[in-house]
């Protein structure tokens, strides 16, 4: 794993303007991302975890310039790519790919698998028409599918096979970086393990960097080098996998980890969970100060007033929490 950052995300902000009410008479702003700063290192798997609506998918979309950032920078190869227009973005599009959650809706039902995988190759002129067939066969082999699948249609494939095709399509562009947006969440356990293995193999073979967006912490723990925890549009904590799972600092991370079930009956029966009260507040009107203070078991006065600073609490271990800063937690 290289230590060079592949991508630097600086103070990224994303607001969505929505209209509420039966006739859209009320304008409102969804604070989806608020001042996110982190690096993605070359060759690593960085995971983003958090509950629905925490902004993890929005982060993936915004840093690929699929959503327009409201503020902030995403530096890739010396360029702030979030200010590029669609045309200037095109050379980067090839290198920056995404695999989505739902393999049923991401493939065009009227295109054969071969056409779906071949399309980006022709678009980016990565092979001539004569070479195309071989290239498609190689890509299908890479994702563990026999070449005869090239003439099949998506409806003939199982969920796991479709997700393999989606991965082959991303690989077709010879990317450097792939955002896996809940790419394995819709799959059955036994198939999920197959796809995780495939992603790990491909990373080794092609030196890929992954931003892995997921809510299943057991999977994240298995595949990540570093893990970032998000809550309501902000990063709460980011550290190496060992640091985060063994020495979590942020009270939200601790609660999240204690909610993950383990496949061990005796342990599960005797374990004392730290169960969070209530639900995640609405991103339409996020709480003041630290956004977690309404559910935090150790919230102090300052937490509802000031936004905690995003700082390095231990080497390489970033956290945003007043209690950690004051040495009250950890």
């Amino acid at each position: 794993m290289g230590v060079q950052p592949l991508m630097r995300i600086e103070n990224l902000v994303k607001h969505f303007h929505v209209r509420l009410g039966a006739f859209g008479e009320r304008a409102a702003t969804v604070h989806a991302l608020d001042n996110i700063t982190f690096d993605i290192l070359e060759g690593e798997t960085l995971s983003l975890v958090g509950e629905s609506g925490c902004g993890k998918s929005t982060t993936g979309f915004t840093l690929l310039n699929l959503h327009r950032a409201t503020e902030g920078k995403v530096i890739y190869q010396g360029k702030n790519i979030v200010e590029l227009d669609e045309k200037a973005m095109r050379p980067y599009r090839r290198q920056l790919q995404i695999v989505f959650q739902d393999p049923y809706s991401t493939l065009n039902p009227r295109m054969t698998i071969g056409e779906a995988v071949g399309e980006p190759i022709l678009f980016h002129k990565l092979a001539t028409k004569a070479e195309l067939k071989d290239r498609i066969a190689t890509l299908l082999a890479d994702v563990g599918l026999p070449p005869r699948f090239a003439s099949r249609y998506p409806h003939e494939l199982s969920g796991g096979q479709r997700q393999r095709v989606a991965i082959a399509r991303a690989l077709a562009c010879q990317p450097k970086f792939i955002v896996c947006d809940e790419a394995i969440s819709a799959l059955d356990v036994s198939v999920q393990a197959q796809i995780i293995n495939l992603l790990l193999d491909l990373q080794q073979k092609y030196g890929l960097t992954y931003l892995f967006i997921a809510h299943d912490l057991a999977v994240v723990r298995h595949i990540s080098d570093r893990v970032g925890v998000m809550y309501l549009g902000r990063l709460a904590e980011l550290a190496t996998r060992e640091e985060l799972f063994e020495h979590p600092l942020h009270p939200y991370t601790k609660a999240l980890l204690s909610a993950v079930p383990e496949a061990d009956p005796a342990h599960e029966r005797s374990r004392q969970r730290q169960i969070l009260q209530g639900d995640v507040p609405s991103p339409l009107s996020p709480p003041s100060g630290c956004r977690f203070h309404t559910r935090c078991p150790i919230a102090m006065d300052v937490c509802s007033k000031a936004v905690p600073e995003w700082r390095e609490a231990r080497p390489g271990h970033m956290v945003a929490c007043h209690a950690v800063t004051e040495g009250l937690s950890g």
């Binding site: 036994s190 197959q194 057991a218």
Partner: protein
Amino acid sequence: MMMANNIRPEPPAKTGERLLDVRGLTIEIETRSGPATIVDGIDLHVDKGETLGIVGESGCGKSLTMLSMMRLLPNKIKVTKGEANFAGRDLQKMSNSDLRKVRGGDVGFIFQDPMTSLNPVMRIGQQLAEPLIYHRGMSKADARKRAGELLKLVGIPGAEDRLDAYPHELSGGMRQRVMIAIGLACNPQLLIADEPTTALDVTIQAQIVDLVKDLRDKLGMSVVWITHDLALIAGLVDRINVLYAGTVVEDAPVDALFANPSHPYTQGLLASIPKLSDERSTRLSSIGGTPPEPGRRPKGCPFAPRCPLAEAICHERVPSLEGLGQNGAHRVACFVAQRKLEAA
């Protein structure tokens, strides 16, 4: 290990008395190329006070089995064989009006998606009161009072004020709590929970699992919890049935199942869950291939085409569920596992 938690009441006593007994249930779906078997002669039972976990991947028939018992199947899907006895009466032979008294009365349901299971244009107080008025003959005023108590029971803050709320005004976790309250409204003897936490976030999921556990212990009912997540129910259930392609392949007390999984499919499922102790990027063991589609069931053991241990006999004959060991509480449908035990 089994330390009694001070806050929690003791789990209900297990009497060994059958509450639900399903025998040889076969379910078929009509397809263009004729009927296809989805559930193949399934046997399962739940004792009074027992919590049973039913585990399997999508399409294994775990939800259909439960729906078919209550005769809630869609048109093209039919029970062709078998019986389902609840408290000594065959649900398949019961008249519609008798069955209606069982559904939502003695048997409560919680479904996966509270957004589609709740009526969006009815206040939640009314939805809670409905079964109480219908099954228990309560007056409107009494039912409303009881509805408020039920919301309090499932931990909804400001319960009485929430009675007049509509489902869309509640969060996903709150809606699932309302579903649970409706399922519990008539003090059922059996609660069937069909993937009740799948749509929820992990912290909310933990809240719901703990809630059902508490309520079960408080109210002394039996629970069937259907899920694809073995880890989730590890601390909740007494016994687990593992389903594959419409048959029970393993039936075991929860500790025995995790300590000594005997069917190759159960072993594969457990091995494909990432463990805390794994090094990063170690390859997960996975089960090759995919489950058979209805109508294309292989001859012999349905798992044989994917099974690493399959032998000639596995492709020829269907193994029956046989008890392992002395008391036979741990049962497995696998020729290889059964022979191994005989040899030992």
